[in-house]
């Protein structure tokens, strides 16, 4: 093996040890021990191949075939960031460039008693014990190479805390920008969000790429949802034709809490989203909505988990996709109902429109139910556009292409309507309209 072709795994491991060697006392901290454990797990697992059950339809060979600069500096300023055309809204806007939180570019308008937002490193400096205990707490059992890799290489994401009983009226929008104008860039942000009892908050994570070199994002977000809290969380990906994205959102819900997730993949070469929700309380409800529009040779994979651990809770899931050209879609939805989780209601549905004979969609609902008094249902459909509806519209003078766009927009509408941050929803409506009209 020539030095040219040292694989990404080896490169990353070497890099880790090199950095560790120049650390001082910090190397013995609990935080670093967790990172080191992450590395060990990554080393053991390696990047998954399609032989791995969870990666059967998603091949990362292409993703790991090149190297990325995980420490790329970017000169990008606020003017360029604001230029990324997102509707204006009064909101807390947090910018991340190449995976690192940029406090100086960010705007926080909600008062400190309602919310504290700081870079993970800052938060750790201020309260090492607390932050170290939160770090990787929810993902500690994840037997996943990418999550382990993120743990080992965690970059400076944010730590967000919303105290008990606070209702944050302005949404918190996390904008991740990969600056791939000069080189292949990698980023591995880790965000920890802790929502206190009976607190209310709306969050969005938005991913963009600048430039057309490759970008590789490996993000992990851990969300703690305390009793009676209400959290709306949206993830929007509108990245480049050369963007590779693997992301995990890990959620733990306690008694009486409500969690809404909306995951929308507008663009990107390769996308894998893991959304794992543990309903670790009674009378919780979790809602998962998803939308994806791959075209060309794009690949979008959504893996979701609703893990019911306690009785009397509900999960409800609806994913929809429109696939064109030679694109591929994957949906894998797991519902676990643990032995204690009697009186669980769990619903799941995945609907797809496949517009080209060369596009494929793999759907796999996976229900593992260990309690007897439960209501679960799941269903998937994959079909073409409704020809009857198309003819009906055309017979009224609507052109074929316009009729198609209307029908497809209507198909997406029930998911789009679930997005409760106005600027994000409007942004989606605009981009989706353009996307659907473009062919």
């Amino acid at each position: 093996m020539s030095t040219e072709t040292i694989d990404l795994k080896t490169r990353l491991i070497t890099d880790f040890h090199a950095r560790e060697a120049v650390m001082n006392g910090e190397a013995s901290s609990e935080f670093h021990q967790k990172k080191r454990a992450g590395l060990a797990l990554f080393e053991q697992l390696g990047f998954p191949t399609i032989k791995h059950e969870e990666w059967k339809y998603s091949n990362v060979r292409d993703l790991i075939s090149v190297s990325y600069d995980f420490n790329a500096e970017s000169s990008i300023g606020l003017a360029e960031l604001e230029d990324l055309k997102v509707p204006k809204q009064e909101a807390n806007i947090l910018y991340f460039v190449n995976g690192r939180y940029k406090a100086e570019l960010s705007t926080i308008i909600s008062p400190v008693e309602k919310i504290t937002i700081s870079a993970l490193s800052e938060a750790y400096k201020n309260d090492p014990v607390k932050v170290a205990s939160y770090f990787n707490e929810l993902t500690k059992d994840a037997n996943d190479a990418f999550t382990a890799l993120n743990t080992a290489f965690t970059q400076d994401g944010v730590f967000i805390h919303i105290p008990d009983n606070q209702s944050v009226e302005h949404p918190i929008i996390l904008r991740f920008v990969s600056d791939a104008r000069e080189q292949n860039v990698g980023s591995q942000p880790r965000n920890i969000i802790s929502v206190g009892k009976n607190a209310h908050v709306k969050l969005a994570e938005a991913f963009r790429t600048l430039g057309d070199q490759r970008s590789f994002t490996n993000s992990v977000t851990e969300i703690h949802v305390a009793e009676e809290a209400n959290v709306q969380y949206y993830k929007v990906q509108n990245e480049s034709e050369n963007a590779y994205h693997v992301g995990t959102t890990q959620v733990r819900m306690l008694d009486g809490s409500h969690f809404y997730a909306g995951t929308v993949t507008l663009n990107g070469k390769f996308t894998r989203n893991n959304l794992n929700i543990v309903l670790d309380g009674e009378h919780c409800d979790a809602h998962m909505y998803g939308l994806y529009f791959p075209d060309g040779s794009q690949h979008v994979d959504n893996h979701t988990v609703a893990d019911h651990q306690k009785p009397n809770s509900e999960s409800n899931e609806l994913y929809k996709g429109i696939l064109r050209d030679k694109s591929k879609g994957v949906f894998n939805g797991k519902i676990f109902v643990r032995p204690d989780a009697q009186k669980t209601n769990a619903f799941q549905s995945c609907k797809n429109i496949v517009l080209s004979p060369d596009a494929t969609m793999n759907t796999k609902p996976q229900l593992e139910i260990f309690a007897d008094d439960v209501k679960c249902s799941h269903g998937t459909t994959t079909g073409q556009i409704d020809e009857e509806a198309l003819f009906y519209m055309r017979s009224r003078g609507i052109s074929q292409s316009e009729a198609m766009s209307l029908l497809m927009f209507a198909f997406c509408a029930d998911v789009v309507q679930q997005i409760k941050i106005d600027s994000v929803r409007e942004y989606l409506e605009n981009v989706i309209t353009q996307k659907l009209a473009s062919k």
Binding site: F391, M393, S395, R396
Partner: protein
Amino acid sequence: MLSINDLRASIEGKEILKGINLEVKPGEVHAIMGPNGSGKSTLASVLAGREEYEVTGGNVVFDGKEILEMAPEERAAEGIFLAFQYPVEIPGVTTINFLKTAVNEIRKYKGEAPLDAAQFLKMVREKAKLVSMNDSLLKRALNEGFSGGEKKRNEIFQMAVLEPKLAILDETDSGLDIDALRIVAEGVNSLRSPERSTIVVTHYQRLLDYIVPDYVHVLYKGRIVKSGPKELALELEEKGYDWIKAEVEAVG
């Protein structure tokens, strides 16, 4: 206005229309009757441009233009309207939004500027009144969960908005209660003019009491086997189709 000459059409290799001839002049109302499965809806669909049917012979000239090569939306823009026997439910698209798109696409085809929201709403309100169409239905998804009668009324409402030159009503009377039948028929009549023509497909005389036809045709096994004045419909109502079938069989 409409001239159908020896029109033949088949589906899945089975010939359904076996040489239809029909002349409709401006301002005329033609009723088409005939037993179930004789090809009435097929004829209506072929005229509107449904692509599943393969036209195997003949031609159709509308307003001086050959239409069989035209896309359904072009025919609509040229002024052909089909009120469906079974209107389609379209979740997620409101009736009002659907119609606005239709109106403006047709205007674009004709080189006219689109109607703005206010102009459109004003026009739609007037037309809705014409067929006593409830405002709340307009805001709902197109035909989704509409009752059978509401769907039929919605067809006539759309016709009123689009003001076609040729309206083809495929069993618009079925599923309507007596009051609705009268309202729908009045809606159709109010659009009648010396330039507009109507083809009414129906099984029953009661619609023809309101929309009085100039001619009545009987379609049987893919052919028009009998044509006559409006009294023919009354005769059919009284005697059924057996005598006509017998006449056809006798000729061979």
